[in-house]
């Protein structure tokens, strides 16, 4: 599988030439959308921080409690494409993002583009964060800036050709990234379900693990949340649609209780990569967990 994808990407790079160069141009956010967001509020930003699970990747590996707020980076994500290392995003001006503008931050989060105008790798789940609200991003930025600065550099990614060519990610983005909702809901859908859709498809980035991917790492939106082998590590993320094999037999209350406590309806206990996600979810207000549960019960069942 690795070889096959390698050939395909090499072929794309070589053959497409100038078209490739134009198509893969990093695209920044429209400035007016950003200007529309008001000044950030750090309390609201904290809620976005836990919904987005930033600490699971950007805190030091195995950090707990207050250490989760020291975003020194260093966690290694080992995938078929190579090893990605989450960078330092603490407010340290030299090693972190302390000298970034709000526009720099919003472009990283919602377009996957760095202040130098390069593409980020989608191991940083910006293809979900692209669905976030500008105001939430502004709030998160203010919150992050108030966290402790950490003056240490995280190691670099370990990627080999062709995956070490950032420009190639532009094609991936064209094919697999979009900022529209994944599940169409009727205009009169309950407020709670709409809020749940926002949390799951946007900041919560649940689809990054629970939706299967093709050989280039693009999500198969037709199998949204239908369960998938883990990209990083072993095992799989189960089907969480309301199907028989998925959450069909769970009530919305069961789902909310799992996100709060880690216990399934059979009193089995969350584990693997979901343990961190659940700890983050436990920090949200109850209404957010209930909204996520309502959405997961409202989406089409996988079959």
């Amino acid at each position: 599988m690795l070889r096959k994808s390698l050939y395909v990407i090499v072929a794309l790079v070589v053959a497409a030439g100038a078209a490739f160069w134009l198509l893969t141009q990093p695209e920044r956010l429209d400035g007016s959308a950003l200007a529309a967001a008001g000044p950030g509020d750090p309390d609201r930003g904290e809620r976005v921080f836990w919904a987005g699970g930033c600490a699971s990747c950007h805190a030091r590996p195995d950090a707990e409690d207050d250490a989760l707020l020291e975003l020194a980076g260093g966690r290694a994500l080992e995938t078929d494409f190579g090893t990605f290392i989450a960078p330092n995003i603490s407010p340290d001006p030299e090693h972190g993002i302390g000298d970034w503008s709000e526009a720099d931050f919003a472009n990283a989060m919602m377009r996957g583009v760095s202040p130098e105008g390069e593409h980020y790798y989608p191991a940083f789940p910006y293809s979900s964060y692209a669905r976030m609200d500008e105001q939430d991003v502004a709030d998160l930025f203010v919150y992050l800036n108030a966290l402790p600065p950490v003056a240490e550099a995280a190691p670099a990614n370990e990627l080999s050709f062709p995956y070490n060519i950032r420009r190639g990610i532009g094609l991936w983005k064209l094919l697999y990234m979009h900022d529209q909702p994944v599940v169409d809901l009727p205009a009169d859908a309950p407020e709670e379900v709409l809020r749940g859709r926002y949390l799951v498809e946007g900041p919560g980035h649940c689809g990054e693990c629970h939706t299967p991917r093709n050989f280039m790492g693009g999500q198969n939106f037709d199998r949204w949340l239908a369960g998938a082998p883990m990209m990083e590590g072993e095992g799989s993320a189960p089907d969480i649609t309301p199907s028989e094999d998925g959450l069909g037999s769970w009530s919305a209350g069961d789902i909310a209780y799992y996100l709060e406590s880690g216990f399934t309806p059979d009193f089995d206990v969350v584990g693997g990569a979901m343990a961190d996600v659940q700890r983050n979810m436990a920090r949200l207000p109850d209404e957010d967990r209930r909204a996520i549960a309502a959405y997961l019960k409202a989406i089409p069942a996988a079959n």
Binding site: G227, E234, D266, F267, V269, G272, A275, Q278
Partner: protein
Amino acid sequence: MKRLAISVSALLFTMVGVAAADDPIVVRQSLMQAAAASAATSAGMMKGEIEYNPTVAKAAIATLYGVSQAYGDYFPEGTQEGDSDASPRIWEDMEGFQQAIADFQTDTAAAVQAAGEDGPADLAAFQQAIQPVLSNCKDCHEDFRIQDN
């Protein structure tokens, strides 16, 4: 009351099941089922769905203590294969896994101590005793259990 009876009998049944089996994978999974039944009973009381009863609370703690003592013995080399969700990490890092078991034993022993002769006097005392025990479930599953379906 009916729920209570079901939970308690679930505890007993699983323990009996364990004694009868000789496949280590079956035994360790049954032990976990006993742990789950105790967790269900404990959570039921903490959520107010089951009325607090010190004797039942003590039984839940005693079961978890028993599980913690026995559990580490059922991971012989070669049992990572088969119908098991045990992570290969258990055998790659047996020391770390045994440490997780030791932590589980320490916390259940402390809960047994706190429960005393008659079980924790009230719900608050029970909660204080059982919470550290239940946090072991997630910590160990995070590192040493992999679901694949």
